[in-house]
């Protein structure tokens, strides 16, 4: 009895001493500010700042090599805290969210062939430039869903990627993953978007998609300041985003949509999504 207690106790004591020595001997000096910043960063290791992980970014902020406002997922809250830790003034970048500029799901847009194979947009794009007839349309095979570190994207039952504006942190991973560049970064405050990515002429677009931009100019006539049309594709001029909404009802193909009234239908995100974060408040 005594022997076993002593043995166990002895082993415990020895291990404790060894660990103690090792901790002292191999200790790594870390700037406490680095740890504090790591604490306030979101910890998703998403790469939006340009570095592979939050740890590296915290270090880069402390040694001054990178600016504290590069963490888009953290938003203004995070920036404020980092600024406080570093004792500098926070200069916020406008928060952005990603928008899938396409509504052409399997019901509304035609396919030039039936795709069999890897469930991945980049793989499908290599086969005759993707199954969707529209060269710019969303393929709906979910490369962006897998790329999103925040679980903010889903594919609707009809095969269209939609982004949850509340979960989206603006990290741009999805933008990089999309072979057709359907996903674009937009200011969070702008809720009116042209949901089309086709630069074909109107007549061509009509042939393959019910909800594509046909470059009819009506939006531009309705709100000349808020729209411009390049390459047969209308685009919201986000500097004048607040004026864009008036054209939503005028668009004959309904490719201009206002997200504040509950878009997209048919997804779990269909509840009205009002911006939850306000830009530039941190400063």
């Amino acid at each position: 009895m005594l022997a076993s207690v002593l043995t166990l106790g002895g082993i415990g004591l020895f291990a404790a001493i060894a660990l103690g020595i090792a901790a002292k001997k191999f200790a790594v000096e870390v700037d406490p500010r680095e740890l504090a910043i790591l604490e306030v960063l979101p910890g998703a290791n998403c790469g939006a700042c340009g570095l592979p992980g939050c740890g590296g970014y915290a270090k880069a902020i402390v040694d001054g090599s990178m600016s504290p406002n590069l963490c888009t997922p953290g938003g203004s809250d995070c920036l404020e805290k980092i600024a406080h830790i570093m004792g500098v003034e926070a200069i916020s970048a406008d928060p952005q969210v990603a928008v899938v500029c396409c509504q052409g799901d399997n019901q509304k847009a035609s396919q030039k062939y039936r795709y069999l194979g890897l469930e991945d947009c980049n793989a499908a794009q290599k086969i005759a430039d993707g199954p969707k007839t529209c060269p710019g349309g969303c393929l709906g095979l979910g490369s962006c869903v897998r790329a999103c570190p925040f679980d903010a994207i889903e594919i609707t039952a009809e095969g269209l990627a939609v982004i949850n504006r509340q979960k989206c942190t603006g990290c741009q991973k999805c933008v990089a993953s999309c072979p057709r560049s359907v996903i674009k970064m937009t200011p969070l405050t702008a809720t009116t978007h042209v949901l089309c990515n086709s630069t074909d002429k109107g007549g061509v677009v009509r042939k393959y998609c019910q909800v594509g931009c046909i470059a009819c100019q009506i939006c531009k006539k309705t709100a000349p300041e808020a729209y411009q049309i390049d390459n047969f594709l209308a685009q919201v001029n986000y500097d004048m985003a607040h004026e864009a909404e008036v054209a939503v009802e005028k668009c004959p193909t309904r490719c201009i949509r206002d997200f504040s009234t509950g878009y997209p239908e048919g997804s779990s995100f269909a509840a009205p999504t009002v911006p939850t974060k306000k830009p530039g408040q941190a400063a």
């Binding site: 035609s110 062939y113 039936r114 795709y115 069999l116 194979g117 890897l118 793989a123 290599k126 086969i127």
Partner: protein, 329 residues
């Protein structure tokens, strides 16, 4: 407007041999062993096999439903796990033991890892070992065979390996049954778990799998070969104390393990060289456990231990790639 043509990356044809067909063939290969088990142990054997199979299928179905995964019953892997588990249980297993084992096999052995293809250990063996440790009495209550149509009663009896272990521990010498009775062992007229008794039925099924190229020869040959050789060396050194290698081969679960459990594709290495190492490891551990371990039988533990080593073996046994040569000329 919609185009009816299919496009895909090449190739455009397929062998037609799919996972469900592979699983179905393995089930066919186990039928002779099931038939022999039912012949020797009667209705209780049928009950155990049915309960295990239905239990596994139900557990798989419920698990898929709860996890919101696609239903995977169609691939036949759950039914196969059930049959293998049944063949690994004693004939007198109570109903709850079979059902509990089935739940363990599917839920703990397979689904927690992500389902078919992701489990590191053979699910049926996981269940068998959990049962053996948790319910040692029920799992080691063997009965002597009472063939259908004979008026023999099933009486409690030890397995040959169990009897050997007891005798060696008590007397330091092998019992008589380690020296004779091989023809009875061959057909399966001995106490043991349902599937392990008949060498002939197992060889028949194993032969079918080899012929259909469902399994390759590497694991069975390395496994059985190493048991025979290592067991043979011990026997040659001290035939009084260690049994004849044939005794190793025909009693216990060696054939069932080597042909059906160790060859489980998911949990064994993928390369030829890896499979040989895997088989050798299984054989070595089996002999060591049988001769020097606390348990009379070591096949299950040997295979599970080697399952754990599979990722490591795969890492070090990569095939030599064409063109990884120095330039000539």
């Amino acid at each position: 407007m919609e185009n009816q043509l299919y496009l895909s990356s090449s190739p455009h044809i397929h062998s037609g041999e799919t996972t469900d067909k592979v699983m179905r063939k393995v089930i066919y290969a186990l039928l002779p062993a099931c038939a022999v088990a039912i012949y020797f142990f009667g209705l209780p054997a049928l009950m155990v096999l049915l309960l295990c199979t239905l239990g596994c299928v139900a557990a798989e179905g419920i698990s898929c439903k709860l996890q919101g995964r696609n239903m995977t019953l169609g691939d036949g892997s759950a039914a196969l796990t059930g049959i293998l588990l049944g063949l690994n249980l004693p004939p007198s297993s109570p109903w709850w033991l079979a059902l509990f084992g089935a739940a363990i096999a599917i839920l703990i052995g397979k689904q927690v890892y992500g389902g078919l293809g992701y489990n590191p250990f053979n699910p049926a063996l996981v269940a068998r070992v959990v049962l053996l440790i948790s319910f040692p009495v029920q799992m080691t209550s063997w009965t002597s065979p009472a063939p259908l149509g004979s008026d023999l009663d099933a009486v409690t009896s030890a397995t040959p390996l169990g009897a050997m272990k007891t005798a060696v521990m008590l007397t330091g010498k092998l019992p008589e049954l380690a020296h004779s009775g091989f023809s009875q062992y061959l057909i399966g007229n001995m106490a043991g778990s349902l599937g392990e008794v008949s060498a002939i039925a197992l060889l028949l099924g194993g032969g079918y799998l080899l012929w259909k190229r469902i399994i390759s020869w590497h694991i069975p040959v390395a496994f059985i070969g190493s048991v025979l050789i290592i067991g043979g060396i011990f026997w040659a050194v001290s035939p009084e104390k260690y049994p004849n290698p044939l005794f190793h081969l025909l009693t216990g679960g060696l054939l069932l393990g080597a042909l059906f459990m160790a060859t489980d594709m998911v949990t064994s290495p993928v390369t030829d060289k890896g499979m040989l190492i895997f088989g050798f490891g299984c054989g070595l551990l089996t002999v060591l456990i049988r001769l020097f371990g606390g348990y009379p039988e070591g096949v299950s533990f040997a295979i599970l231990l080697m399952n754990a080593a599979t990722p490591l073996i795969d890492r070090f046994c990569r095939p030599k790639i064409y063109g990884q040569v120095e330039a000539k000329v």
